[in-house]
Amino acid sequence: MSTAQTLSPAMKRERNSRLLRGCFYLALISIALVAPFIAYPIFLMKVLCFALFASAFNLLLGYAGLLSFGHAAFLATGGYITGFMLASFPSLTPELGILTGTAASMALGLVFGLLAIRRHGIYFAMVTLALSQMMFFLFIQAPFTGGEDGLHGVPRGELFGLISLSNDLSAYYFVLAIFMIGFGIIQRTVHSPYGQVLKAIRENEPRAISLGYNVDNYKLVAFVLSATLAGLAGSTKTVVFQLASLDDAHWHMSGEVILMTLLGGVGTLLGPLVGSGIVITLQTQLAQSPLGNWVSVILGVIFVICVLSFRSGIVGEIQKIVKKKFK
C-alpha cells in the first residue's frame, strides 16, 4: 500500500497548506530578488535590517510572551562592535565583523536575560528598559563609540575577501541572504518542539512548570536567541550604512520595534516584515514632507490606534479573515 492512500483528510489538508505556504514563500523570495531593480536598494536594505530586528523581537513577544522594552541595546551593541572592529582592523572581512558584533550582542543578551527573567510581565519590561538605558549611557561615555557623533565611515569591505560590497546591488543581495538566514532560524525555532513549549509557557506558565518544563531555561534561550538576531540586524545595518549611531541605542528605538511588530501582527511570522516595511516607508516619506517634525507624534497615534482597536495587526487580521473563509 502506498503512503498516499493512508493519509487522513486532516493530513492531506496539512500537506496542501504546506504546499501553499511553500509557493507563497517562493513568490516572496522572487519578489525580493527583483526588488532592487524596481525600488531604491538603500531603502530596501534598511527595511530588511529592521524586518530582521522586528522578527527577532517578535520571537520573544509573540512566541514567548515576553515584552522587552530594551531591544535597542542589542541592535546598538551589534552595530557598535562591528563598526569598531571593521574601522580599526582594515584587514577584517565584513562577515567576520558581523560575526563579532553578533557574538557581543549574544553575550549581552545572556547577561540581560539572566537578570530580566527573574521578574514577570510588566516588571520584565521595566527591567529590560532600565538595562538598555544603562547601555545607552555607557555608549555615550565609552571611548570607542564616538560619543554623541557615533561611528562614521565604517568600510563595507569585501565579502570573504573576494566580493566587493561597495556596489549597492551586491550589498543588497548580501543583506537579503543574511535576512533569509535569520528569518529561517526564527521560522525553524517557532515550528520546532522547543517553539511549541515556548508557546505553552506563553499561554499558561504555571501549567508548563507543573508539566516539568524548566521554564526559566526556555525563556533564557529565547531571550538570547532574540538578542543575537537583533545584534545580527544591527551589525548588518552598520556594514551597509557604514555608520553606527547613538539613535540605535535610544529607548525610542525599542519603542519603534514594538510598534513595527504590533502594527504588522504580534505572533505572526510575516507581521514584523509588513510592520517594519510600513514604519520605515512612513518615516522616509514623512522626513521629506512638511510633516517631518511630526514623525514621533504620528507613530504615537498609530500606537494608540493599534492598542485600541487593531491588536492582531495587519497580518493577524488577514489571517482571521482567511481562516473564517476556509472553515
Partner: protein
C-alpha cells in the same frame, strides 16, 4: 578645610543635598506610579510626559496668564490631573480588560504624542522658570550654602509623600482604594463605584506627577524631554523598591538619590549608571525588590 573621606566637606554636603533633592523627585514619581499600578495594574509610561506637562503648564501660565508660583502649585496639578481623568475615561478604560502589557503600550503611545507635540510647538531647547521671589536667597549653614528654593523642594516633596501616605493608609477613601487593589469585584458588590474610584485614582496619580513638575520647573530647565529620561530612572527605582508599599517607594527613591549623589562625589563617570547597577544587584540577590511582594 574639613575633609570627609578625602573630599572637601562643602562638596560632599552639596552633592548629598542635590542627591536628596533628586531622590525626592524619584520618590514623588514612583509614588504616583505605585498608586496607579495598585488599582489599574498599568505601568503609566506617560508619567514622565505628565510631569513635563506640569512644568510646562506652570511656565505657560506664568507667561500668558500671570499665574504665580503658589497658585500654579495648586492649579496645575488639578488641570493636568483633569487631563489624566479624561485619558483614563477615553483610552485606558477601553483596554482595562486586556493584558497589563497593553496599558504600558497605550501610555507609551500617549507619551510620544504629548512629547512630540510640545517639541513641535515650543522647540526642544529648554526654557527657564524664574525662582519665586519669596523663595530666593538661601541659608549659610557654615559648611555650605543652601538655596532656600532647594530646601523648600525637599520639604514640599516629602510633605506631599506623607500626605499621600496619610490619605491612603488613614482615611476612609484610602481604605476603599486599598481594598479595591486587593479585590475590585468584591468592592463593586459592596456598592463602591469602582469605575469612578479607578478614574479618580488615575487622576490623582497624574496630579502627583504634575505637582512634581511644578516643583521641578525653577530647578531644571523646562523642556519637552525633561520627563522621559527621568522616568526610566524612576522605573529602575520602582524595580528596586517594588510597587508593594508606599513607604517603600519613598524610602527607595530618597536612598537612590543619595547613592547617585555620593557616586558623583567619588566616581562621577558612573553617576548616570549607578542606579541601574544597583537594580541589577537587587535583581540578583532579591528578585522581588526590597519591599516587593511579587514572587
Amino acid at each position: 578645610m574639613t575633609m570627609i573621606l578625602g573630599v572637601p566637606l562643602t562638596m560632599f554636603m552639596g552633592q548629598l543635598i542635590l542627591g536628596l533633592i533628586n531622590g525626592a523627585f524619584y520618590a514623588l514619581l514612583s509614588l504616583g506610579l505605585a498608586v496607579i499600578f495598585g488599582l489599574l495594574k498599568i505601568v503609566n509610561f506617560a508619567h514622565g510626559a505628565q510631569y513635563m506637562l506640569g512644568a510646562f503648564t506652570a511656565l505657560l501660565g506664568l507667561r500668558y496668564l500671570g499665574l504665580n508660583y503658589w497658585l500654579a502649585l495648586l492649579v496645575v496639578p488639578l488641570v493636568v490631573g483633569g487631563l489624566g481623568i479624561l485619558t483614563e475615561r477615553f483610552f485606558l478604560r477601553r483596554i482595562a480588560h486586556l493584558d497589563d502589557l497593553y496599558g504600558l503600550l497605550m501610555t507609551f503611545g500617549l507619551a510620544l504624542i504629548i512629547e512630540g507635540s510640545l517639541a513641535n510647538f515650543f522647540g526642544v531647547s529648554g526654557a527657564r522658570y524664574p525662582t519665586p521671589e519669596s523663595l530666593s536667597g538661601g541659608f549659610q549653614l557654615g559648611f555650605m550654602f543652601l538655596p532656600t528654593y532647594r530646601a523648600w523642594v525637599l520639604v514640599a516633596a516629602i510633605g506631599m509623600c506623607f500626605a499621600t501616605w496619610f490619605i491612603i493608609e488613614r482615611t476612609r477613601l484610602g481604605s476603599y482604594l486599598r481594598a479595591g487593589t486587593e479585590n475590585p469585584m468584591l468592592m463593586q458588590n459592596f456598592g463602591v463605584n469602582m469605575p469612578q474610584l479607578i478614574t479618580l485614582t488615575y487622576g490623582f496619580g497624574v496630579a502627583l506627577a504634575a505637582f512634581a513638575g511644578v516643583l521641578a520647573a525653577p530647578l531644571y530647565s523646562v523642556s519637552p524631554s525633561m520627563g522621559s529620561n527621568l522616568l526610566i530612572v524612576v522605573f529602575a527605582v520602582v524595580v528596586i523598591g517594588g510597587m508593594g508599599s508606599i513607604l517603600g517607594a519613598v524610602i527607595t527613591g530618597l536612598a537612590m538619590g543619595l547613592i547617585e549623589g555620593l557616586t558623583k562625589v567619588y566616581y562621577p563617570e558612573a553617576a548616570s549608571t549607578v542606579i541601574f547597577v544597583v537594580m541589577a544587584i537587587v535583581l540578583t540577590l532579591r528578585p522581588a525588590g526590597l519591599f516587593g511582594k511579587e514572587a
